[in-house]
């Protein structure tokens, strides 16, 4: 019999990878060969069990692996150090700068907003917590509620970025000027510092977008982040105004 010719190809048969002619020949053989037929059955069960394995929720490692990783990434150069080179090679000249700009931008924007929010929580205290935990108080959210349509995500251009941030910052600046005397000098200083950082972030964002206006990632990320962060800025303003 020619069965050993077929055994080696039973997996391909199970996977539906044989051509029509080969499949017919093999099926003719299977009809008369109990051994090969039972191997086919067993192979199918292996395949099913393997697939089921892939669907199971994975179990975490027993040991702590994070501390070892933390040590190694602390010792590593700035995140992505090696990858920048690869990236710039792939993108050609100028790639490295662009990536750096983009990364620095993302970082500083998030960081500065985190800083403002912390600041607001510290200085605005109870008002902030009250509005976060319950229904928004109309007065406090006046600015963000005034034109909710502005906050809908849409393609971000550098002018869009500028305009929105410009408006939010002008608002905050105005409120600061008005209520400055009532505020703690350290608070004012921190806000001023944050404003300068925002200005730098905007400059960086403009450069990143100018170099790669089509970057879906950058645009999406900007749209989402700015939407959130603008709200934070405006809430900061409201809370300062209310203090």
């Amino acid at each position: 019999m020619s069965e050993h010719v077929w055994v080696a190809r039973l997996s391909e048969y199970v996977d539906g990878e044989l051509g029509a002619r080969e499949r017919q020949e093999l099926e003719a053989h299977l009809a008369g060969c109990a051994d090969c037929s039972s191997i086919v059955e067993e192979l199918r069960r292996v395949v099913a069990q393997a697939a089921a394995l892939g669907d199971r929720p994975p179990r975490p490692p027993v040991d702590d692996l994070w501390s070892g990783i933390a040590e190694r990434i602390a010792a590593a150069p700035a995140a992505g150090g090696q990858v920048f080179d690869l990236e710039s090679r792939r993108r050609g000249k100028g790639g490295r700068d662009r990536v750096l700009v983009e990364r620095r931008f993302s970082f500083s924007l998030l960081q500065l907003v985190a800083a403002s929010v912390v600041l607001v929580i510290l200085s605005g205290g109870s008002a902030w917590l009250a509005t976060r935990s319950g229904a928004p108080a109309a007065g406090v959210f006046a600015i963000s509620e005034r034109d909710p349509s502005e906050l809908v995500a849409r393609p971000v251009s550098s002018s869009y970025a500028d305009e929105k941030f410009g408006t939010a910052i002008a608002e905050l600046r105005r409120v600061l000027d008005e209520s400055g005397p009532r505020l703690d000098p350290a608070t004012v200083r921190t806000i001023e510092e944050n404003l300068r950082t925002i200005n730098r972030a905007i400059a960086q964002a403009r450069r990143a977008l100018a170099e790669d206006p089509a970057s879906e990632y950058l645009n999406d990320y900007l749209a989402k982040t700015m939407q959130q962060k603008l709200e934070f800025l405006r809430e900061t303003t409201s809370l300062v105004a209310a203090s």
């Binding site: 080696a8 190809r9 039973l10 997996s11 391909e12 990878e17 191997i39 067993e42 192979l43 069960r45 292996v46 395949v47 069990q49 393997a50 697939a51 394995l53 892939g54 929720p57 994975p58 179990r59 975490p60 490692p61 040991d63 692996l65 994070w66 070892g68 990783i69 933390a70 190694r72 990434i73 602390a74 590593a76 700035a78 995140a79 992505g80 150090g81 090696q82 990858v83 920048f84 690869l86 990236e87 990536v99 990364r103 620095r104 993302s106 970082f107 998030l110 879906e216 990632y217 999406d220 990320y221």
Partner: protein
């Protein structure tokens, strides 16, 4: 709360943390680690065995940290990380020169598991059986049958022919069928 919502929340959290981590925020990276380590560790365990799984898992996360700037957010972070994981694991085999050797070694290794203690808990037995497959056959099997990669993709990643990928897969399955409870 539905699973879908949780997935969406994870996706959003992953996206934010990936940006922060790419900027050098190790705590954001630690959050990513905790969300994704089970899957990576499982992959490592199956691909290189229990003994090396911890070490390889750490390698994967260190590499991911180094490569974060290439994560563009156009795929889920988990998908991206998983690809990094597969590449690290396979690159490791190639670097050690084990890969080709074992392919050539061929059938000597096959008999290793053919006498199987029957019974016991099927899943544990099956997982253990996978871990004890000969190199080459094991990686192809895990990638194809557990993880759903195509022969073409596997061949490309391992720098072998599709024919070799197919024969290694078959070899793995022929060994593993002995480990099915019946």
């Amino acid at each position: 709360m539905t699973t879908l919502t949780q997935d969406q929340e994870t996706l959003a959290a992953d996206g934010d943390d990936a940006v922060l981590a790419a900027a050098g925020d190790a705590r954001a990276f630690e959050r990513l680690y905790h969300r994704h380590v089970p899957r990576i560790h499982n992959l490592a365990r199956r691909m290189v065995g229990e003994d090396l799984a911890n070490e390889v898992t750490q390698d994967v996360f260190v590499r991911a940290w180094e490569k974060l700037s290439t994560f563009r957010g156009d795929a889920a972070f988990g998908t991206w990380l998983y690809r990094v994981g597969v590449n690290v694991i396979l690159g490791r085999r190639k670097k050690l020169g084990i890969w080709r050797e074992r392919y050539v070694e061929g059938d000597d290794v096959i008999g290793r598991l053919s006498t199987n203690p029957k019974g016991g808990e099927t899943r544990v037995d099956f997982e253990a059986a996978i871990e004890h497959l000969p190199d080459g056959a094991r990686q192809v099997f895990v990638l194809h049958d557990v993880e759903g990669y195509k022969h073409r993709e596997i061949a490309g990643q391992l720098d072998i022919t599709e024919g070799t990928s197919k024969s290694q897969l078959h070899r793995a399955r022929m060994i593993l069928r002995e480990h099915m409870d019946r």
